[in-house]
């Protein structure tokens, strides 16, 4: 059996959980095994039907009253117990922040290997898989010897797709559980009311070291505002203190996926590129025709951004009237 660990938020499966089930369906086929799901949390019940729609045949719920919120050690302890009791051949979660954390917690408890962010998995003795390194810039083929194989699939490695599956049956999992398993529970949560955010913006106006100063970003702000977009930046800019880290695009920053990314004065280092490559279109503004960002862009303007951006802003204002 393949056990898929499901992430949920306010009574809904997250997109990551739907992806894990989608990825899990084809993996379970290759394993020639059934697919079951683990739903942990006292508020997880409403997600059972959604898990069924996405292909889970059995859903193991663990709704212990102490599990009233997310806690990495608690979730890890429950998964480890499920592995011991239900004896799945493999366990899969999605490689979101929580998914990777829960699986590492379970792996530590089981003293078993854990392979994060796989894009392809082939069952067998040993298992073989392809996983991402460097935030997606490099792929690693690996083999795995394990009594129980623990994986996450890379976030967005597949697009979530429902199955025409029937209803899932539910089995309540009786975890041996007490307060000692809940040392790291979420204690408080602050949600700022967010408008257009960097990960969801349709237009991102990104600036790199070529912008020259913190003040130089005013030109990018103005254009981004006009286009109802957001300003992004490179790590060089964050390190210089010109913009907050929350604006950083890349391996150690935010992954963006706008309709268009306008990258000005950004050289396009690989660690920046992995955060930008999901953009549908890219327009680069750079004085260097050979810059990686220019080479990889759909369109480019080879000129000083300080002249080009105000000209674009003026043209947008003219057409908007």
């Amino acid at each position: 059996m393949l056990l898929v660990v499901l992430e949920h938020e306010r009574g809904e499966l997250t997109e990551a959980a739907r992806e894990a089930l989608t990825f899990g369906r084809s993996l379970a086929d290759k394993m020639d095994e059934g697919i079951e799901a683990a739903l942990i949390g006292s508020d997880a019940e409403p997600c059972v039907n959604q898990a069924g729609e996405f292909g889970a045949e059995v859903v193991h719920t663990c709704t212990h009253e102490l599990l009233s919120d997310y806690g990495p050690d608690a979730y890890g302890a429950v998964i480890a117990e499920m592995v011991a009791e239900l004896e799945p051949a493999a366990v899969l979660a999605c490689g979101s922040e929580r998914g990777n954390e829960i699986m590492a917690q379970a792996a530590a408890r089981l003293d078993a290997p854990f392979v994060a962010n796989c894009v392809d998995i082939t069952p067998g003795y040993p298992w073989s898989m392809t996983r991402v390194q460097w935030g997606g810039s490099l792929l690693e083929d690996s083999i795995l010897d394990a009594d129980v194989a623990l994986f996450t699939c890379g976030l967005h490695a597949v697009a979530a797709q429902p199955d025409d599956g029937a209803d899932a049956s539910v089995e309540e999992f009786d975890a041996e559980f007490d307060e000692s398993h809940c040392v790291t529970m979420v204690k408080d949560r602050t949600v700022q009311e967010a408008g257009v955010t960097l990960p969801t913006a349709r237009v991102v106006c990104g600036g790199g070291r070529g912008v020259g100063s913190a003040d130089g970003f005013a030109k990018l702000e103005e254009l981004a505002d006009l286009l109802n977009g957001r300003v992004g930046c490179s790590r060089a800019v964050t390190n210089l203190g010109w913009r907050p880290h929350s604006d950083q695009v890349g391996q150690t920053g935010t992954r963006i996926a706008p309709e268009i990314y306008i990258a000005s004065g950004v050289s396009g280092a690989i660690q920046h590129w992995v955060g930008a490559m999901a953009s549908k279109h890219i327009l680069a503004i750079n004085t260097d025709r050979e810059a990686n960002m220019v080479v990889k862009a759909d369109w480019a303007v080879i000129a000083d951004l300080h002249q080009v951006i105000p000209a674009i802003t003026a043209e947008v204002q003219r057409r908007k009237g």
Binding site: N100, S128, Q133, I143, L144, D145, K187, L227
Partner: protein, 260 residues
């Protein structure tokens, strides 16, 4: 406060990552080396806590002897002690790395006669990105850990019993965790803005005495076969112009994409 930071030496590639002909590793022949931004922030966070509360910051790495460069860099921005666990030049899997670090921590704590109040890891290593070494080490030591941390506060002076409050970013806000000490955190870039080394820091770092601990551990269950680059998106770049007059063509594109 006694704080330990675990950092990993990784190559610093530019526009693309090249792999050696046999696919066994990143071709670093013409590359510099660095530590992950996450781990740089861990070191900065530790030094800031020491500046507030007193104590000592130790940096530890598992790697080749050259990894002492990364320990010296940490010393140049304020770390007090460096510990190197020499590897055998092969890429250690995460279970093996975690076991070696766990042994090292037990050795160091026995030497010191006390536990580190706080141990900091990066959320994931920059190159292999296994997302697990810190969590394995914390479990082995039976200390709590939370990953993805971008804010740290300690109760009291950070030593002895007490708590560490840690903030983790979520979409449009953050979650707060409270961990009893001693504890472990996996931190992310954005925790702080790491300082640059000063002249004095650089001089001090040359004098850093690096403690070498010969520790090995059994290989884990995952083994690398080969590294390769993902298929590249090839696109023919259309040059829209070489000056501000290109603005008209740029806005035509925006109009076509429906983002105006």
């Amino acid at each position: 406060m006694k704080i330990l930071c675990c950092v990993k030496r990784v190559p610093a590639p530019g526009a693309k990552i090249n792999v050696t002909a046999d696919g066994s590793q990143v071709d670093a022949a013409h590359l510099g080396f660095t530590t992950s931004p996450h781990e740089e922030c861990a070191v900065e966070g530790a030094v800031q806590l020491r500046e507030q509360h007193g104590g000592e910051v130790t940096v530890l790495t598992v790697g080749p002897t050259e990894a002492s460069e990364q320990l010296r860099y940490a010393a140049s921005v304020g770390a007090d002690h460096g510990v190197l666990i020499p590897d055998d030049g092969s890429a250690w899997d995460p279970q093996r790395t975690a076991a070696a670090i766990g042994d090292a921590i037990e050795t160091l704590e026995a030497q010191n006669g006390s536990a580190f109040d706080l141990i900091l890891f990066g959320n994931e290593s920059a190159d292999t990105g296994g997302f697990q070494v810190g969590i394995r080490v914390a479990y082995r030591l039976r200390r709590p850990i939370v990953n993805g941390i971008k804010g740290i506060e300690v109760s009291g002076d950070g030593t002895g019993a007490g708590t560490v409050t840690a903030r983790r970013e979520i979409d449009g806000g953050f979650e707060v965790y409270e961990l009893p000490r001693p504890c472990v955190l996996g931190v992310k870039e954005g925790l702080n803005l790491p300082r640059y080394p000063t002249m004095k820091g650089r001089l001090n770092s040359k004098k850093l005495e690096i403690q070498s601990l010969d520790i090995d551990a059994a290989a884990g269950g995952q083994r690398r076969v080969r590294l390769h680059r993902p298929a590249e998106q090839v696109s023919e770049t259309v040059i829209l112009g070489e000056g501000p007059e290109a603005a008209v063509a740029v806005v035509d594109v925006l109009e076509e994409l429906g983002v105006l």
